[in-house]
């Protein structure tokens, strides 16, 4: 039972990291142009999201 004391927070923390990563990607506009993103990987330009 002692294991639960750190296993549960660890599981929640890992899930939380995933959630934060998703929210960061959403906020930084990575879902705004799905068609364009699929094409941009094919060009060699040094290209950053605006």
């Amino acid at each position: 039972m002692d294991a639960l004391a750190w296993l549960i927070p660890a599981a929640l923390a890992l899930g939380g990291v995933g959630l934060l990563a998703f929210m960061w990607s959403l906020r930084s506009g990575q879902y705004d142009d799905l068609d364009g993103a699929a094409q941009r990987i094919l060009t060699d330009d040094d290209d950053r999201p605006a």
């Binding site: 899930g15 959630l19 929210m23 142009d33 364009g36 094409q39 060009t43 330009d45 605006a50």
Partner: protein, 744 residues
């Protein structure tokens, strides 16, 4: 995507659109830091090569800080510093062969975008919550009756509550909002039982946890919301595409114009700032932005946007021009006679909006089902509650079982299965080059009884094609050398018929007249009869004979006449036959004269046709059909068809149609064949069948599960399994639509 690119000719020569630059100065915004911002709609960009070519082209300009093209929305945004003239940007893009239009950010509310973002946030939060709550719930189920004591179970419940309460309250916002809005109007929609089930399950679970009971359903509300949010998000994305098309329409209306001041200087103004009496300069390639009268110059104009007819029309001082007309050959000075928003285009737009409003009253299948479903489910839950209260006398048991009924009956099939079927159906049509703009369009197309075609541009290709019988190969090759320098529609058709070849380098075009060049030391002319007749012999053909013809001659020689036809799409007859085989009545409504309409009607095998109709007469005819109980699918391409398209039960437009028409129609198909019409009807009927099957399945599932829930046999574990199993089945059933093959 591949099919679409092939049709538009991308990436070989941009979008194949007229690359005409305009001065976007009225649309430039200046921010606090002194930087300039400009947003544009770029047409004709379809692939990664277009994207990087456009961005690189603009970044090469001095002072550009950022240039970014969004391929999904076709929007282009530039930021720059310094004295760069904004027209340099549009010139750079137009010079690459793409169409540019201003994007008036002020005119467009971005609520669709923020709604999409809210759904994504909710989706992320509920996905996180359902995974973590499930982790705890599975442990509880595994430990039930084995070695988990009540204390640990209650601890797990409270941990679940910690995640589930905020996640449910946040993730449920889209549903709570819509349910409240519906209740305020005194009706119930699908979101009412969803909200009740979710909140009921959450409240019951908190109570159970607080008394260390065993009926806590913390995973149920978050999982339900997660599954339903997927459906909601799919549905929302479908609608977004329709909005993107509507934005293009707004872009036409915000086209700038060149106004001549009293001193004769030219200034760029936004169309909305034009007042009657303004003198406007219309260069070749420009669009007239307000209804106006020509005061100086003569030229040919393209009225296709207004009349749907592709042959150029002459304009001279005194001619009235409608907004949306494109000047083809020579500079015109016109005087505006109406404000831009009072112009014909704007009036047609309002007709379209009126049609769309009547259409928005269409009740979708899912909502129809919800109207039956909601009262039944709520009565059932209330009866279960009352029944248990009478039998056991315990409010707790009664509440547990009533909420179990609500959770089990929560309309996953309605919320997830309908959008899933529609997304698969639209995906299948999209791969074949047909864009579906709204989910309910498919439902409406499945119901049609009549198919009504426009003639020019719909049954025909809508562009002149050289009539093969009149061609002398040697003459054609020489004439094509002259024609290749011109943008005139007939010259293009001639050049297209001749294929690639030499260009007469010294050729000069006299707008509205023709082209002159020297080939092998001999002067040659290609153009209208009077132009060629000035130095060669042209036999008299009369006005009728000279329409849709080009004349070509060597100096002093006899002229050759090239005639052009608007040819029919190759598979019209097969399509009409296939539609009739599906039990549909086919009609032809044309704005053209009677003789060509009859000829096309006969060639296509359409017995029922009407000619010489004005836009409002087409609309009236559709209204009459509707009054007689018919449900019409209207297919047309001209702006004159737009009100009829909006009035019809469902509508389709070819990709060659003008923006306003595309935005008024439900489906847009690419390519030179009409077969997509048949395919759309087949897919729509098939998807309706699947939706009904899914409803049938969920009715069956409810009929089996409700007695168990009502009698108190449903535990949280069973509820979780039943819910995911039913969602899985309806989604898999939706995917069956992908397996269907195109019938020959």
């Amino acid at each position: 995507m591949v099919a679409l690119e092939a049709e538009t000719g991308c990436p070989t020569y941009g979008g194949g659109e007229e690359g005409v630059a305009f001065d976007p100065a009225p649309f430039v915004r200046r921010d606090a830091a002194g930087r300039m911002h400009l947003e544009l709609v770029v047409r004709g960009a379809h692939c990664g090569a277009c994207l990087s070519r456009i961005e690189r082209g603009v970044r090469a300009l001095p002072g550009i800080l950022d240039a970014r093209m969004n391929l999904s929305t076709r929007k282009f945004a530039a930021v720059w510093e310094g004295a760069l003239a904004p027209i340099r940007i549009t010139e750079a893009i137009a010079g690459l062969g793409y169409g540019v239009a201003p994007f008036d950010a002020a005119a467009i509310a971005s609520d669709a975008h923020s709604e999409n973002r809210l759904l994504m946030w909710c989706l992320g939060v509920t996905a996180f919550a359902s995974m973590n709550v499930m982790l705890l719930s599975v442990s509880i189920w595994a430990g039930l009756g084995v070695d988990m004591d009540v204390g640990t179970r209650t601890l797990f419940y409270w941990l679940s509550a910690l995640i589930a309460i905020p996640a449910t309250l946040y993730g449920g916002i889209p549903f709570f909002r819509s349910a409240l809005a519906a209740l305020r109007q005194g009706r119930a929609n699908m979101d009412v039982p969803i909200s009740l089930a979710v909140l009921g399950a959450l409240a019951l679970s908190i109570y159970e946890a607080s008394i260390a009971g065993e009926h806590a359903y913390f995973e149920a509300p978050v999982m339900l919301l997660f599954l339903l949010l997927i459906g909601r998000w799919l549905d929302h994305n479908l609608r977004d595409r329709a909005r993107a098309a509507a934005r293009n329409l707004l872009a036409i209306q915000s086209l700038p114009a060149v106004r001549l001041t009293a001193s004769g200087a030219a200034e760029a103004v936004a169309a909305r700032d034009i007042v009657p009496g303004d003198r406007l300069l219309v260069m070749p390639g420009d669009r007239v932005v307000a209804d106006s009268e020509v005061i100086d110059g003569d030229s040919d104009v393209d009225c296709a946007l207004v009349t749907g007819e592709s042959a150029p029309v002459a304009a001279a001082p005194g001619s009235r021009l409608h907004a949306g007309v494109i000047n083809l050959s020579r500079r015109l000075v016109v005087r505006a006679v109406a404000r831009s928003e009072d112009s014909l285009v704007a009036q047609l737009t309002r007709l379209v909006e009126a049609g769309e409003q009547t259409r928005s009253r269409y009740v979708r299948l899912a909502d129809k089902a919800a109207r039956v479903y909601v009262p039944v489910v709520h009565t059932l839950a209330a009866m279960v509650f009352a029944g248990w209260l009478l039998i056991e006398g315990s409010v707790h048991t009664a509440a547990v079982n009533a909420i179990a009924v609500l959770i089990i009956t929560c309309p996953c099939a309605l919320g997830l299965a309908v959008p899933a079927v529609q997304v698969v159906a639209t995906g299948r049509l999209f791969r074949n080059g047909t864009l579906v703009k709204s989910g309910d369009a498919l439902e409406r197309i499945a119901e049609v009884t009549h198919v009504v075609f426009d003639k020019t541009g719909t049954l025909t290709l809508g562009r002149p094609v050289l009539a093969a019988s009149s061609v002398d190969p040697e003459m054609l090759e020489q004439a094509a050398r002259l024609a290749r320098i011109s943008r005139h529609p007939l010259s293009r058709a001639l050049a297209h018929a001749a294929g690639p070849g030499l260009v007469a380098m010294d050729a000069r075009e006299t707008p509205g007249e023709g082209i002159e060049a020297q080939l092998d030391g001999v002067r040659m002319r290609l153009g209208r009869a009077s132009f060629v007749g000035a130095f060669a012999t042209v036999p008299p053909y009369g006005k009728e004979g000279e329409a849709l013809s080009l004349f070509f001659a060597r100096e002093g020689g006899a002229a050759t006449r090239f005639t052009f036809d608007d040819v029919m799409r190759a598979d019209v007859r097969a399509v009409v036959h296939a539609l009739e085989a599906r039990g549909l009545r086919v009609e032809l409504l044309s704005g053209d004269r009677e003789a060509p309409a009859r000829a096309v009607g006969e060639a296509a095998g359409i017995a029922s046709w009407k000619a010489g109709l004005l836009p409002h007469e087409k609309t009236a005819h559709l209204a009459a059909l509707k009054a007689a109980g018919a449900r019409t699918l209207m297919i047309g391409d001209g702006l004159n068809d737009a009100p009829a398209l909006a009035q019809a039960h469902a509508s389709m437009a070819p990709g060659s149609a003008v923006d306003a028409t595309q935005s008024a129609s439900d489906l847009v198909f690419q390519g030179d064949t009409l077969w997509p019409v048949v395919e759309a009807i087949d897919v729509a009927r098939q998807s309706r069948k699947l939706v009904v099957e899914n409803f049938g399945f969920s009715a069956l599932y409810n009929a089996v599960a409700i007695p168990f829930a009502a009698l108190g046999f449903v535990t949280p574990l069973i509820a979780a399994i039943a819910m995911s199993a039913s969602s899985l089945v309806v989604t898999l059933n939706a995917l069956r639509l992908n397996g269907g093959r195109k019938a020959a």
